[in-house]
């Protein structure tokens, strides 16, 4: 076979890094041309905006006049003087704590019930999955009616079993729990994923466990749980990221009220940016959120070594 010798067909120096043979260079060029749309989009709508917003975080900026450098003022203001900032941070943390673990558990329990080869799995799966199709605004509009303190379905059903329901979205104490309750309604997506994860656990593992004399609990504890941890882990990370950015639920359901009881972080950020035109301050808030989410994600990833099981490890 006569492949082209580098000496015979020497490419210009600026192309040499693309590959040794012309074909490889051709292929590499095609690659760059093909991913060009994404590269442009990445630079224009992600990389540049990130740099820009990082810069804006240290400025005072109202969109009309040029940004004014203020150093760490925005962050100082955020951490030491802005009660609303801490309020929204607290609300969001409480929301994350209320919606993510319980939602994951709910989805897991349903998936595990369905995984034990019940009749009509598809039927149940459809029912649980249906709410995730509904737009967040429609969900919130619907729940404002369901959670009406006097005539809402929730309180009327509670009244039937002799419980006097709270004021829900009208009450500063119960508005955030309302929001969390609403989030549990949309766990269908997670449930479907867990169900697929459970179905994907090789039957041979259970059989092997049975041979070793494992009971139901032992099989659950030593086969099901470890095999499912990667899926749980992945969804937990995505769930955390999503829950920290909750926006339309609190906006439509309660508009952040009553008394800022449901003013979530991103809702507060939106208000700072587009209502009060504090673009610099809002950028600072965005970067703090980014830092918190990153730190949490890293924490979960670090901790994953302790509880997430990867098949590749076991083979060693």
């Amino acid at each position: 076979m006569t492949t082209a010798q580098p000496t015979v067909d020497s490419p210009p120096a600026y192309l040499r890094w693309l590959g040794k043979s012309p074909m490889r260079r051709q292929e590499a060029l095609t690659f760059y041309v093909m991913i060009l749309p994404w590269v442009i989009g990445f630079v224009g709508f992600i990389a540049y905006p990130m740099v820009r917003s990082f810069y804006l975080a240290f400025t005072r900026y109202n969109l009309r006049s040029a940004p004014v450098w203020v150093g760490f003022d925005n962050f100082v203001q955020m951490f030491t003087r802005d009660n609303l900032f801490w309020q929204s941070f607290k609300v969001t943390v409480l929301y994350v704590l209320g919606s993510v673990p319980a939602g994951t558990l709910f989805a897991l329990v349903v998936a595990m019930i369905l995984a034990q080869s019940l009749r009509g799995v598809n039927f149940w799966r459809t029912i649980y999955f249906l709410p995730t199709m509904v737009s967040g605004v429609a969900v919130a509009v619907m729940w404002t009616y369901l959670l009406n303190p006097e005539y809402g379905l929730v309180n009327q059903l509670l009244a039937m079993v002799g419980i006097r329901g709270p004021g829900w979205i009208a009450s500063p104490t119960w508005a955030l729990p309302s929001l969390i309750l609403m989030s549990w309604w949309s766990i269908g997506g997670q449930m479907v994923i867990y169900l697929a994860g459970l179905k994907g656990i090789p039957q041979s593992l259970y059989e092997a466990a049975e041979i070793d004399g494992a009971g139901e609990w032992a099989k659950f504890r030593h086969v099901t749980v470890p095999m499912l941890t990667p899926t749980i882990f992945f969804n937990l990370v995505l769930g955390l990221i999503g829950a920290f950015q909750v926006f339309e639920g609190p906006l439509v359901l309660t508009a952040g009220g009553p008394n800022n009881a449901t003013l979530t972080y991103v809702l507060n950020l939106y208000n700072q940016a587009f209502r009060f035109i504090h673009f610099g301050y809002a950028s600072a808030m965005a970067w703090f959120l980014f830092a918190v989410i990153m730190a949490l994600t890293l924490l979960v990833i670090r901790s994953s070594a302790l509880w997430v099981y990867y098949e590749s490890e076991a083979k060693d």
Binding site: G19, R24, E27, A28, T30, F31, M34, P37, W38, G41, F42, G44, F45, I46, M50, R52, S53, L63, I113, L118, Y128, F129, L130, P131, M133, S135, G136, V137, A138, M142, W143, Y145, L146, Y151, L153, M160, R164, W185, G197, A208, I211, G213, G215, P230, T231, F233, F234, Q245, F247, E248, L251, V252, V266, A273, F279, A282, A286, F290, I293, T297
Partner: protein, 657 residues
């Protein structure tokens, strides 16, 4: 893990293992577990489905069923009786009388409350800390069946039944139930018009009223609860019902039916002097067939009109008449329909014959408006129901306050009934008008059809954008080799984790500089530059396609793009369907992006429109629920058709861990 490859001999050995005593009783355990599973599943399913069903049912309800206790699940409509020859009906109820269920209509009502004489309280009042009292429950007490709010007082000496009469600081002043022998009911109208007196009993301030009971003036204290007695009669009474202008009726004493006094009226100028009972007050408004208005009504300046002495009269209705002098041509006698700021909408006499009154209750909903010739605006109501016929009418002049009357002579069988014992007479009925209202109601110059069109445009452009960009980029990442590819792919994946607020403000600036704020551009432009998630999804799928096919095509001289479009894409339908579904869901349900970039209602997407509706129809839940149903309908319908792809797509996205 070699169980699958066990020989038959080994297997029988294994089966022998399984017959160990430890497995005894497992079928029982299984059964319990199965039962518990189903109970939990059904409970969860109720939590998932009830909200949706409740929304769907509410979207078909009339307004009065939105706030009912207990909730009504199946939308209902009133069963009415025709009110005489008038174009209206009267609601019917069912009440038990002498052990039989009777259909009745309401003629009047009186509200009552329970009271007790102050002099009876003095020796027996006790102040009790509030935490020793239970919540009040209403009960009829004593021989007179007086309803009272009874609480249980867990006193140190045991539980006692008491009624609260007032507040003493943080404590409640109460009277024991058996000391309340003189409690009685009294009409609210009597009590509320009586003189107030302030009384102080053992330092507890009470507000009493001075009323006359059995000829002597006594001070009484209102205890509640309020109750209602209604006077009802058989529906036949409605046969001779009639309406009259409110200011044309004159009081003519009252008649007592049981404990309730019904006011009697006569109609001014009515020579027969018939006495009537006023069943209800309502508003009626002049109407006329819409096509007569569109063809013959005109808007003219008031200066061209000379009032005529003789007005246009119909029963209960008077409209002004004018002589109209057009700029060119002969003068004409006309009826004035509506005068607004110097201009009058007129209708020539010969077309005015059909003008009549219509009940506003049937006219108010779904009103729209239109311009008549000459520019004047008139309100119209399409689908007005009149004596069983559905017609389109125009409304004009002012609403008139009317009274619905039934002749006194017709009601000898009227009787009194407890307000709570009256049951509404209804039948299942889906009210599709709610949907019509949701779709046609115009807010800020736009309605839901506009919102849908905008959402549709955004969805289609996003589909095109993602299809064009993501397939190409994903294929490059899946198959082509180039230096730096892995780093680029890692960057691509990491952008999935980026919280959107971080880029929000600069992206807003970019679109602002491009002059795209308040347009649909920001909602779809970015999809033409690829979406990290879909690129990842498609790359995974492309990599699972056997590479041999592509290599064969390459040897035949096909270009990369040809390979992608002719070989790879046709094999990738499942992944493309998943991408299409998620693109659709994402852009249809997206709220944040349009909320940030769009201000004018004419550019709103469906979700933004729904939010706008929520601000507008705050408690008109029947309209809000209809609008929500309409917004979620496309996604739900699509889901039922493409369920497999939805579920597979979700699994693809979540199982990569």
């Amino acid at each position: 893990m070699a169980v699958d490859s066990t020989s038959p001999a080994q297997r029988s050995k294994l089966e022998a293992y399984q017959l160990r005593p430890s497995r005894f009783g497992q079928t029982g355990f299984r059964r319990i577990r199965l039962a518990v599973s189903y109970v939990l599943l059904i409970l969860g399913a109720c939590f998932m489905l009830f909200p949706l069903l409740w929304m769907l049912s509410a979207s078909f309800k009339p307004e009065w069923q939105i706030f009912t206790r207990p909730p009504i699940w199946i939308p209902q409509e009133w069963i009415q009786v025709q009110a005489g020859n008038e174009n209206t009906g009267i609601n019917t109820y069912t009440v038990e009388r002498n052990g039989e269920e009777t259909t009745v209509i309401r003629l009047g009502r009186r509200r009552y409350t329970s009271v007790v004489g102050i002099s009876d309280l003095e020796q027996h009042m006790i102040t009790v800390p509030q935490d020793q009292l239970t919540a009040a429950t209403t009960r009829e007490v004593g021989e007179a069946n007086v309803p009272l709010n009874v609480r249980t007082w867990n006193s140190p000496e045991g539980a006692r039944e008491v009624v609260a009469i007032g507040r003493a600081g943080d404590d409640l002043a109460v009277i024991e139930l058996d000391k309340l022998t003189t409690a009685r009911v009294m009409p609210l109208t009597v009590l509320r018009t009586a003189d107030r007196v302030n009384v102080e009993l053992q330092d507890v301030r009470l507000q009493a009223r001075e009323v006359e009971i059995d000829g002597e003036t006594r001070q009484v204290l209102e205890l509640g609860p309020e109750s209602e007695l209604v006077v009802v009669s058989t529906p036949e009474v409605a046969e001779h019902a009639t309406i009259a202008l409110k200011d044309q009726i004159e009081p003519a004493g009252s008649v007592a039916i049981g404990a309730t006094e019904l006011d009697i009226v006569t109609i001014a100028g009515d020579e027969s002097g018939t006495q009537y009972v006023n069943v209800s007050d309502e508003s009626w408004q002049p109407v006329l067939e819409l096509d007569i208005i569109t063809e013959h009504a005109l808007t003219v300046p008031n200066a061209q009109l000379t009032p005529l002495d003789e007005p246009f009269t119909r029963p209960n209705l008077t409209l002004p008449r004018y002589t109209w002098q057009p700029e060119e041509g002969d003068p004409q006698d006309v009826v004035g329909l509506l005068t607004v700021s110097g201009e009058t909408i007129i209708l020539p006499d010969e077309y005015a014959e059909g003008i009549r009154l219509g009940p506003l209750a049937k006219l108010t909903e779904d009103q729209t408006s239109m311009r008549v010739r000459g520019g004047g605006i008139i309100r119209i109501k399409e689908g007005f129901e009149e004596y069983g016929e559905i017609i389109d009418v125009a409304l004009f002049s002012q609403p008139q306050e009317m009274a619905l009357l039934v002749p006194l002579d017709d009601i000898p069988d009227a009787f009194e009934a407890d307000g709570d014992a009256l049951k509404r007479n209804t039948r299942p009925h889906l009210r599709i008008q709610n949907y019509r209202r949701a779709l046609t109601a115009s807010i800020g110059g736009a309605n839901f059809l506009t919102f849908f069109r905008n959402s549709g445009i955004v969805v289609v452009l996003n589909l095109i954008g993602n299809f064009l960009s993501c397939t190409v980029v994903a294929y490059a990442f899946a198959r082509l080799r180039a230096p730096g590819k892995n780093i680029l792919f890692a960057i691509l994946l990491s952008t999935l984790m980026l919280p959107f607020p971080v880029t929000l403000i600069p992206v807003y600036e970019i679109f602002r500089n491009l002059g795209m704020i308040d347009s649909l551009w920001p909602l779809f432009l970015r999809s033409f530059f690829g979406n990290a998630f879909f690129i990842f999804l498609l790359r995974q799928f492309f990599m699972s396609i056997p590479v041999e096919l592509e290599e064969a095509a390459r040897i035949d001289g096909a270009s990369t793009l040809q390979i992608l479009t002719r070989i790879v894409l046709p094999l990738s339908t499942p992944a493309l369907a998943t991408m299409a579904i998620f693109t659709f869901l994402g852009s249809w349900n997206d709220f944040f992006t349009p909320y940030v970039f769009i201000n004018s209602p004419s550019k709103f997407t469906a979700t933004l429109g729904l939010n706008l509706f929520k601000g507008h129809f705050t408690t008109n839940y029947e309209v809000l629920m209809a609008a929500s149903t309409v917004v979620i309908a496309p996604t739900i319908i699509l889901f039922f058709f493409l369920q497999r792809y939805f579920i597979e797509g979700i699994q693809l996205t979540g199982l990569k861990g």
